[in-house]
Symmetry: C2
């Protein structure tokens, strides 16, 4: 009934690891080991996250020597993050107890 593409679009983003990767990449491209260091995650965990993000067109990866640099797909992510920021800002301002309402400004 529902196209799987729609469900998977959200599943990909409904995950702390992948959201944190997006958060960091929203400030500029990074390599896998950069992401590991900044997030304190295992390399394998980050690679799995990036693979899923890439498979669904949220990020793109370039080989640079023996490292790989990942970046957000700007056409999709910029307007998407804007809508979500606005909603979370407006809707969760009262409800959410944590201080990190605007997560993209953090970390």
């Amino acid at each position: 009934m529902i196209c799987h593409a729609y469900k998977s679009f959200f599943i990909v983003l409904a995950d702390n690891c992948r959201l944190n990767i997006i958060n960091l990449l929203s400030k500029g491209p990074l390599t896998v080991s950069d992401l590991c260091t900044k997030l304190g995650y295992e390399q394998s965990r980050v690679s799995h996250g990036l693979r899923t993000l890439k498979e669904h067109g949220f990020v793109v990866g370039k080989v640079k020597g023996k490292t790989r640099e990942y970046a957000l797909e700007p056409k999709l992510m910029i307007p998407l993050l804007k809508i979500i920021d606005e909603h979370v800002d407006k809707y969760h301002k009262q409800k959410c107890k944590c201080k990190c309402i605007r997560w993209r400004d953090m970390a």
Copy 2:
């Protein structure tokens, strides 16, 4: 690190039941039993879905006699669905084998 509000925003939408509800509501308000009939889901399943959608500001519900009518939150959902439609259309057109690319036109 990531505000829970952002993760839960996507978790709410990463589910067939809730997506199908949104799909139907995008054509106009419906009661719980309308949704049950059209989706072939148990009443309890639909109610659980609606509760989650309501808690996160995706839908609103009005009491109408002994029934309750639910509708999409238009300020959020219209621009959101637009972005996702475009991405899925563009990105999954080749990859997805199923015919239902534009799920909001279906069912």
